[in-house]
């Protein structure tokens, strides 16, 4: 038993260390892109149109002669921003609605659950497209759209967790001695669901980064010239045969980042969330 746990803890470290290191690097690059990026991210130069990777442009240039490496560094900033802030929004809405529906029995709770079901059933990409076409695409709107589409899984999970925690003896006891329900909420329920929420949030960030790229594919993503990985892949796709570097490198950036987030999410799940760890 002892030996096994040592072995698995070392593996656990690797499981966290590799993607974690990668994500930290991406985060560092995104934060300090102004200092490390070799070129200007949006300044175009058509004379350098689709230049293959070389000593000056390590990852080549895109159809506007802009340095791909620079745009990947800056693009990470926007992509991560979109991913994290939209999921933060989704998390806040989802947790609030989930807890409310668990604490308020009767029609309020029921209505919230129907709303949750509704949002789970919506075809996210289509709805995002329709909303973006209505209100016009912008960075803020993209964040809002993704955030408003992604809260439902949080609500459903939090509600289920909160309901089961409410049944626990000590929580019931707190109720019985007349504790303020909000005190119960903050002291007993929130701390118990936080792990689940963090795990779900991690996985949702991965999905949000992908949805951002899909919106760019459909022409309703973050407007140009702001670089995001999604736009770079979406705009580069027509050059895939002529300039493989325009679409390959930003695509790899998305893939490795999302993969790392997913791996980290899985590791976190095993680590934080006893319900899922299946030990």
């Amino acid at each position: 038993m002892n030996l096994k746990s040592i072995r698995s803890s070392r593996l656990l470290e690797w499981r966290v260390a590799v993607p974690g290191f990668f994500l930290l690097t991406i985060l560092f690059c995104a934060l300090f892109a102004d200092f490390i990026a070799p070129y200007h991210p949006t300044k175009q130069n058509l004379s350098m149109f689709l230049t293959p990777p070389n000593g000056d442009y390590w990852l080549g240039t895109d159809a506007f002669g802009r340095d791909i490496l620079t745009r990947i560094l800056y693009g990470g900033r926007v992509s991560l921003l979109v991913g994290m802030s939209s999921v933060a929004l989704a998390m806040v809405i989802g947790v609030l609605l989930g807890i409310t529906s668990a604490m308020m029995e009767g029609w309020v709770g029921e209505a919230i659950m129907r709303l949750t079901d509704l949002f789970l059933s919506l075809p996210a990409v289509l709805i995002a497209l329709a909303v973006a076409a209505t209100i016009g695409p912008s960075l803020l709107n993209v964040i809002f759209i993704i955030g408003l589409l992604y809260w439902a899984p949080f609500a459903r999970m939090v509600r289920a967790e909160a309901l089961s925690i409410r049944e626990l003896d000590y929580v019931q006891a707190a109720y019985a001695i007349g504790c303020n329900p909000f005190r119960v909420l903050f002291l007993h329920i929130l701390p118990n669901i936080i792990n689940t929420v963090i795990v779900l949030a991690t996985l949702q960030i991965a999905a949000a980064i992908l949805l951002e790229s899909t919106l760019s594919f459909l022409g309703v993503g973050v407007p140009p010239p702001t670089p995001t990985w999604g736009i770079m892949v979406a705009d580069g796709r027509q050059y895939v045969e002529l300039g493989w570097w325009t679409v390959t490198f930003p695509g790899m950036a998305i893939m490795l980042t999302v993969l790392s987030i997913n791996l980290l999410g899985d590791a976190l799940r095993d680590f934080l969330d006893p319900k899922f760890s299946r030990r």
């Binding site: 593996l11 059933s121 075809p123 289509l126 497209l129 089961s164 992908l210 790229s213 892949v233 979406a234």
Partner: protein, 308 residues
């Protein structure tokens, strides 16, 4: 299965569908005006009004909604503004193609997810486990249009092994199914792994092992059977997700499915078609969820759904 649970879930689903119809209706109206897209540039405001009246778009929204929902109840979603065909016909016509793609994608997904999930569980925390997980997660970590285009490039344009796109033979199915199957594999793999871990540690398996049942039989028959319910559930839910709109994959591979026509309808502000297709997708998703719940309770009556 208690009948109270049955009716409760049924009513819930119908309520959600009604909510869905409202959201879809409202969103379609807000998103623009099909008349502005179709009318010639020199059309006057009076002519535009006239065209709107032809499509019934000049009435107040609640009136339009009431007309819409009462016709929907009779199976009439109106004529598609862009294609001049009843919208419901278009959706029904597309449905087999989407269903077919969903099925083959699930087969691909399961072919990848089940072995990886089982091996990962058996060889837990070894490099096999980690490698398998990375492979399964990779499919879910790529933008689908990027993956799809790369597949076309490699297998159709360079290797010339498979057709680029379209609908017709088994070969046409392969690339879109890999794209979608790769995307759903990760979730199924996760559930398979944890279900197998659960099963492998149960007393039931210990008993089987102690009886001297061969290890492969323990894993493949006893444990897998025990873990089958959650695996089936996630498979059904993922299939519902594909049916709810494989918008991007269908567009890239010119697959004549429901997602592709729906995206086109949104761009064209073809309200009747947007409403019919989104309601169909959402409806299928809700119904599959409902069925999964029923089957779940039917197979495992210990689960008390009233607690939910």
């Amino acid at each position: 299965m208690s009948s109270r649970f049955f009716y409760q879930r049924l009513v819930q689903t119908v309520l959600t569908l009604v909510l869905l119809s409202m959201v879809v209706f409202g969103l379609a109206r807000l998103s623009g005006d099909p008349v502005l897209i179709m009318a010639p540039p020199e059309a006057t405001e009076a002519q535009l009004e006239e065209m709107r009246a032809d499509y019934g778009l000049d009435r107040p929204l609640p009136v339009q909604y009431w007309r819409f929902i009462s016709r929907v109840a009779q199976g009439d979603f109106g004529m598609s503004i862009k294609w001049n065909v009843p919208a419901v016909d278009i959706v029904i016509e597309r449905f087999p193609a989407t269903l077919l793609l969903a099925t083959t994608s699930m087969i691909f997904g399961l072919l990848l997810a089940l072995p990886v999930g089982i091996i990962s569980a058996v060889k837990r925390d070894t490099w096999v486990d980690n490698f398998g997980k990375i492979v399964a997660l990779t499919g879910q970590s790529m933008p689908t249009f990027w993956f799809g285009i790369l597949l076309i490039l490699v297998f159709a344009v360079y290797a010339r092994m498979l057709p680029t796109s379209g609908y017709g033979t088994v070969y046409h199915l392969i690339l879109p199914s890999i794209t979608l199957g790769g995307f759903v594999a990760a979730s199924i793999m996760r559930v398979t792994r944890s279900a197998m871990l659960d099963a492998l540690e149960s007393d039931y398996i210990r008993t089987a092992r102690s009886k001297g049942v061969p290890e492969w039989r323990v894993i493949m028959v006893h444990a897998f059977k025990n873990g089958a319910i959650p695996i089936l559930t996630i498979t059904a839910l993922q299939a519902a997700t594909i049916l709810r709109g494989a918008v991007v994959t269908e567009t890239v591979f010119v697959w004549p499915g429901i997602g592709k026509i729906a995206v086109d309808a949104v761009y064209a502000r073809d309200f009747p078609l947007v409403q019919a297709s989104v309601l169909a997708m959402g409806g299928v998703f809700l119904v599959i969820n409902l069925l999964v719940d029923f089957i779940y309770v039917y197979l495992d009556p210990r689960i008390s759904y009233l607690k939910k």
